[in-house]
Symmetry: C2
Subunit: 197 residues, 2 copies
DNA sequence: TTAGAAACTTGATCTATGGTAAGATATACT
DNA sequence: AGTATATCTTACCATAGATCAAGTTTCTAA
């Protein structure tokens, strides 16, 4: 909770008084590795701020294969916009890849924050635009780049994540099989210059 | 311009007086098919509202192949967030796929609109969330679905666009070659039930 | 500390989609 | 209307990455 307060202070002009006004709407929750916070096709109004650990959102296809939409580490947010913003069933699952601590955020918090914190709207708009930019870059990679190029760019963009995630999970994010990722990495070890670009 | 006013009136509480205060910051521009409005790696602060016609944003890969990020038809917006919001060089090109008319929107308009129209921030947040939802769905399809499934879901989601776009352009949006799309469509003509799901 | 389960690697095939090239239609311009 | 130009189709072959199957290594929990 303290971490979330610090985060908001670094991003907005929020005061301690304002934060305590809002904090009634917040809860912290401990999540163990593997624990599911949100199930696709159900309804919920909750969004999560990660104060510790690592979560992901993902879909399951008809063959039961997982496809990772997003990761969230410390100071990141995760949830399902479809249910939170549009009150429709969730598109995604959310679960924890490490033992984590999250701050549970409801819609009332968001509404209040807009009222109470003068520049919250501005901050939020920036954050949403940033999210769009990231996902569009990912689309562009999925359309234009080979598996190896996508892996290289992932490692360059999120070097720390590369160390915290299993290859299975990285492969699922990149849209390839773990076997293919293993072969790609073997090639990169043998030809390190291929990873430079 | 009138179309943009109508659009804003349908989405926000804007009054005619408020609109005329803002309209100093707006210009309309005629764009011919093929005309480029925005070039990747350059800087600009302009965003576009489409009052008539059809635009797209896209990237070029090293082999000079186009990869379409987004379409915008009547009442849609298009531009490059990287340059408009973050003042960095544009990631994308924007050009017209049909003779079009756009309203050119600058940052000052956005700032003023937030001040002048009480619920503009709310509207804008919804729009951004909606955009994120759309792109995330697209990522999920790119990760999980075959070319044929992506084509079917594209046609189901944007039936009108399917009729206005060339196959070359649809293929580029789906991340496949026009030849592959041609083969997919042949199969669908022969086995129409495959397009039902 | 060790058994069992994950995670990772490797090899042998298979398959969806790409590349190339040629011909067939459609569209647009004079 | 007629030619040029873009768009679409088809066939044949190539390839990135998937799938399957069998190890090997690494983690984990009793």
């Amino acid at each position: 909770m303290e971490i979330f307060r610090q985060y908001l202070k670094s991003k907005t002009s929020i005061t301690d008084e304002q934060f305590s006004m809002l904090s009634n709407e917040l809860k912290t929750r401990q999540v163990s590795r593997g624990e599911i916070l949100l199930i696709a096709n159900t309804r919920t109004k909750l969004f999560f701020f990660v104060s510790k650990g690592l979560l992901r959102s993902y879909t399951l296809d008809k063959q039961g294969k997982e496809h990772i939409i997003q990761f969230a580490v410390e100071n990141g947010f995760i949830g399902d916009r479809n249910s939170v913003v549009f009150e429709e069933p969730a598109q995604f699952y959310v679960d924890a890849l490490e033992d984590s601590e999250v701050v549970v955020i409801n819609n009332k918090f968001m509404d209040l924050a807009h009222v109470v914190i003068p520049d919250f709207g501005l901050y939020n708009t920036l954050r949403l635009n940033d999210t769009i930019r990231d996902i569009q870059r990912r689309v562009s990679l999925l359309l234009a780049a080979t598996a190896e190029e996508r892996y290289n760019s992932f490692i360059k963009l999120y070097p720390d994540l590369g160390l915290r995630l299993s290859q299975l999970v990285i492969a699922s994010y990149l849209g390839i099989t773990p076997e293919s990722l293993s072969r790609i990495r073997r090639n990169l070890v043998r030809n390190p210059e291929r990873g430079m670009k």
